[in-house]
Amino acid sequence: MPRARDLGLVSCHLCGLVVRPPGGVDSHVRCPRCGSGLHSRYPNSLSRTWALLIASIILYIPANVLPIMTTTVLGVESPSTILSGVVYFIEERDWLVATVIFTASVVVPVLKMLSLLYLLLSLRGHGRLRTLHRARLHKVTELIGRWSMVDVFVIGILTALVQMGMLSSIEPGLGALAFAAVVILTMLAAESFDPRLLWDQECRQ
């Protein structure tokens, strides 16, 4: 099956138009239909993905250690972290909410980071999965990433809703900021990884 890059063609990532840039596949031209910049492969895909992934891994530590939310009732402050929130719901025997929070805040981000790490290392020859499965892994990582935003949204909603001044209030902690950064950075990392690089590698072998 012919590949666009081998034939000197570039496909626009926004509108899908297939274009032959007069200056070659890697020249900087704009799509005639939608005006966005044309790139045969995402520019600096690997270095961007590595940088975003490493930053998100580093930030995952304060996201779990620092308090994600502080509930103040009648002057008494109760800070809570991601894990303390899960433990609370387990103690309350609310298994459903505990599972939802644990999945969205721990399982999903960690799996995303491990998947991206695997995909990046596999491009250096360390992977053993077939290209098709690796491509699927990337697709799943992209789709699932957004669900980690549940935690961020919940804190935002609770902060917005419970504001009664000194009687009672909910405030986001620094952990929330770090966690939001982790979610956004892993989403950007998955988005900046060009899956076509996997197939480039297969064609080279």
């Binding site: 666009a4 917005a160 504001q163 899956p195 197939w199």
Partner: protein, 219 residues
């Protein structure tokens, strides 16, 4: 006469002639099976109706209280915009701005922009900025998280019920309905199709002098 679209798979870069999908059909990559093109069931009328409904409901929901909370003997009810105001007065102004942007301004802008593009294409109005706005929407697509927001609202409700007596008010139902309508509207739109419709519309109008549209592709 079945039209074929020249397409390069965004996942594996395989070049192929894709037969234009019929309504409710999906075209898959012949090489890696990735989803290339999808044609939604109907035309643009239903998405326009749904998105208009979503926008109206969203704006109206701000006139009614979202929920009522009773903590420690004090009862408080609040609207969506009221929460940003409360944060501005009692808490960090930065958080207040972020909440205002993310919970009110951004959704309204996205809904408005979508309507602008849809109406412009459907009724051949050639409203200004349609192309740039469609490009803007195409960029935003991976970041649309209305469904995540609904689940988050449910989780937040559960957490709140543990803390206080919560009464769900009209504003909440209106807001939930608005998000559902917006998701339904979005499901009836495909970006590649909008670009093709836009191109076809503009091709039937005399070209603006000085701007040539050049497209070259091999068979």
């Amino acid at each position: 006469m079945e039209e074929r679209i020249l397409f390069a798979c965004p996942r594996c870069d395989a070049l192929q002639q894709v037969p234009e999908p019929k309504p409710d059909e999906v075209a898959l990559c012949a090489c890696c099976g990735a989803r290339l093109l999808r044609r939604p069931k109907g035309g643009l009328d239903r998405p326009i109706a749904l998105m208009s409904g979503a926008l109206i409901l969203f704006l109206v929901s701000n006139l009614f209280p979202l929920i009522s909370l009773k903590i420690g003997g004090v009862e408080l009810e609040t609207t969506l915009l009221g929460t940003s105001l409360a944060l501005w007065q009692h808490s960090s102004k930065v958080v207040a701005t972020v909440v205002f942007l993310v919970s009110f301004l951004v959704p309204v802008v996205i809904m408005g922009v979508t309507l602008h593009v849809l109406v412009s294409i459907r009724y051949r109005l050639f409203l200004p900025f349609t192309r740039r706005l469609l490009a803007f929407l195409s960029h935003l697509h991976p970041w649309e998280m209305g469904d995540v927001y609904i689940v988050s609202m449910l989780v937040a409700m559960v957490k709140l019920i543990n803390m206080a007596r919560v009464i769900v008010d009209d504003g909440f139902y209106a807001l939930s309905a608005a998000v559902v309508l917006a998701i339904a509207a979005r499901a009836g739109i495909e970006t590649w199709l909008l670009w093709r419709l836009l191109e076809r519309e503009e091709a039937t109008v005399a070209p603006i002098p000085g701007r040539r549209i050049r497209r070259e592709a091999t068979s």
